[in-house]
């Protein structure tokens, strides 16, 4: 707390305006870990436009609503029709709504890092106790958390709805847990890719376009090739091709290990052995994007 000098208020003489002068600060200085947490919470809030202008709240909030709305409708239908299972699996939800997730990453990854680069705020951070690794970790964790909130919230809606519709508790809980693991992986992967692409350019517009390109072009290419491979009956190739786009990667991981039905053509997900490769590639990509971000920010000094 700042020290209060007794001269600040003089009882009985309140009409005078006092210049209370400079007050020094003798309170605690919480250091590097606290600064990193502060950057994390500021970035996480920023990813939903909190603490920023009203205009910057519109898109993330809108996408959040769009993300949750189908879940709400499904729950309403399930409750109304007394269905004995949800119209969509927990693990399929993010895959079906991948366009919304991509749009969110594309809009928020650049606002998280490109802004700091463009307005040269990064050097100010490094004139504080934090270091490169703290900055990268805080930003990575913040965007991954924001994505997790975006992708896990509708699953929670589905789960609560399923319990209200009195569907089987054990079944639903298992599906919900599998869904959460899947979207956690997805959040880490998408956050990493989005941040790496966005951190290359200080221009937000380029960042948005580049992230969308990386996510949708790879998906478009991969799903086209998979469809061709499927028509030609080379189902082995379908699984391997799926390694080359982020969303099919997640799809592969969850259909191999998280009880999901694959969205791959023919519905044939990777086998267990192939699934191991999927997991390794996913984890490798997450670690790789983190490494790339560290390298990128080593070069951004004062």
């Amino acid at each position: 707390m700042a020290t209060e000098h007794p001269t600040a208020t003089v009882p009985g003489d309140q009409t005078r305006i006092h210049n209370i002068g400079y007050r020094s600060y003798d309170g605690p200085r919480l250091g590097r870990a606290y600064a990193r947490r502060s950057l994390y919470s500021q970035s996480l809030r920023g990813a939903y436009g909190l603490g920023r202008s009203a205009k910057s709240k519109v898109l993330p909030m809108l996408l959040f609503v769009v993300m949750c709305l189908p879940a709400g409708i499904m729950v309403a239908v399930a409750v109304a029709t007394k269905a004995n299972e949800l119209p969509l699996d927990y693990t399929r939800y993010a895959i079906v709504l991948q366009a919304v997730i991509s749009l969110y990453v594309a809009s928020q990854a650049p606002q998280s890092v490109s802004r700091d680069l463009r307005f040269k705020t990064v050097p100010l951070y490094f004139s504080r106790p934090i270091e490169t690794a703290d900055y990268v970790r805080a930003k990575y964790a913040a965007l991954a958390s924001a994505l997790f909130i975006l992708t896990a919230a509708p699953l929670l809606v589905l789960y609560v709805g399923a319990l209200l519709a009195e569907l089987d508790f054990a079944d639903q809980t298992e599906g919900f847990a599998q869904g959460l693991v899947s979207v956690a992986l997805l959040s880490l992967l998408f956050a990493g890719l989005g941040l790496v692409v966005a951190s290359v350019t200080p221009r937000r517009g380029f960042g948005i376009a580049a992230v969308i390109a990386v996510l949708t072009i790879t998906y478009g290419a991969v799903s086209t090739l998979q469809a061709i491979a499927d028509v030609q009956d080379s189902s082995g190739a379908v699984a391997w091709i799926g390694l080359f786009s982020p969303i099919t990667l997640i799809d592969g991981v969850q259909s191999a290990f998280l009880g999901a039905t694959s969205a791959f053509p023919g519905g044939a997900g990777p086998s267990n052995a192939e699934g191991v490769v999927y997991v390794l590639v996913t984890l490798g990509l997450i670690a790789g994007t983190y490494g790339l971000l560290m390298r990128r920010y080593k070069k951004v000094g004062l």
Partner: protein, 324 residues
């Protein structure tokens, strides 16, 4: 606070193709210190090393008694930094931004808010602090930059070219503010500039670097004596149809070298001479009064740092020549 705030001992920084700092040894005490040098003289490199962000190739340095090589994070907690370039996001308010930077310096949330309100008021930002920074004038932005450097109540601040881009009034206000940082807030200041003139008036001590080498380090009064240039303009009278020339001759007779202010507005009517101290002003006044001329103006001219380098030796000789 100790007697020295910054010490460097044969501090060198070499990049593959350029030597930014060349065995720089300085000893800077509390107060306002000016770090003067042309662009590329090594000022920013020095600040970077002193913040513990860039290792020195050779030599050592201490800030507030902490070694820059090992105690970087501790130094950065106690030191403020105002960069030369723009560093403010336009879509947040000054309050929002400065609170965030206070927390980044380790201040708990409540203290961060209190200190932000105080600091913004001290640098002269009032109602506008709730508006987005994008709409601020250059002068207001400079104040926000200064506020974020002071918000955690550092023991020392590095101000990199704080008067850049300001109009004369804004410049004077900023210099006054810098003076107050030491006198009222008790914070030591290292301020860089490529204009020696403005630092003379603000600083207790001036360090001049050129090409990464220490050119000079002395208290401001020493500096003023050898470097202040006076510009004089006088009227003509019937007795002296060319008053300018009459003054020049009279000053020459007293042993003062005078130059024409060629290249300046009003060239031919302006005389430039080097002032060694108060006695030069008196001399000029007496000479002009004796001739019966009117003194239109007598003003200190601001030095650009390159002039100091060029005229350094000549000026010193002159000063010695006519000072006695």
């Amino acid at each position: 606070m100790g007697v020295t705030v910054i010490v460097t001992e044969s501090l060198s920084k070499r990049f593959p193709r350029v030597t930014a700092l060349d065995r720089l040894s300085v000893d800077i005490g509390p107060g306002v210190t000016g770090l003067v040098g042309a662009n590329g003289a090594g000022k920013s490199t020095l600040i970077k090393i002193l913040l513990g962000l860039s290792p020195a190739t050779e030599g050592r340095a201490e800030v507030l008694g902490l070694d820059v090589a090992t105690k970087g994070a501790d130094i950065r907690e106690r030191v403020g930094y105002m960069p030369e370039h723009d560093c403010l996001p336009p879509d947040v308010s000054a309050t929002e931004f400065v609170v965030h930077m206070a927390r980044m310096s380790g201040l708990p949330p409540t203290a961060a808010r209190e200190r932000t309100a105080d600091t913004l008021r001290h640098v002269g930002l009032y109602e506008e602090r709730y508006r987005p920074i994008g709409g601020y004038s250059t002068g207001m932005k400079q104040r926000v930059k200064l506020a974020q450097a002071l918000v955690h109540d550092p023991q020392l601040v590095f101000l990199d070219e704080p008067t850049n881009g300001l109009d004369p009034v804004g410049r004077d206000e900023m210099l006054g503010l810098i003076r107050r940082i030491h006198t009222d807030f008790g914070i030591s200041v290292l301020v860089t500039s490529h204009l020696l003139g403005e630092l003379e008036r603000t600083c207790d001590h001036v360090v001049v670097v050129d090409g990464g080498k220490l050119l000079r380090s002395s208290s401001t009064t020493d500096f003023t004596q050898t470097t202040t240039t006076l510009a004089i303009e006088v009227t003509d009278t019937d007795e002296h149809p060319d008053g300018t020339r009459a003054v020049r001759d009279a000053l020459h007779a007293r042993g003062v070298t005078v130059e024409d202010g060629s290249g300046l507005p009003g060239a031919g009517h302006i005389l430039l001479l080097t002032a060694a101290g108060d006695e030069t002003y008196d001399l000029v006044r007496d000479v002009i009064a004796d001739l019966g001329l009117g003194l239109v103006r007598m003003e200190q001219r601001r030095h650009h740092i390159s002039e100091v380098f060029k005229d350094n030796d000549a000026a010193r000789k002159e000063a010695v020549g006519h000072g006695n």
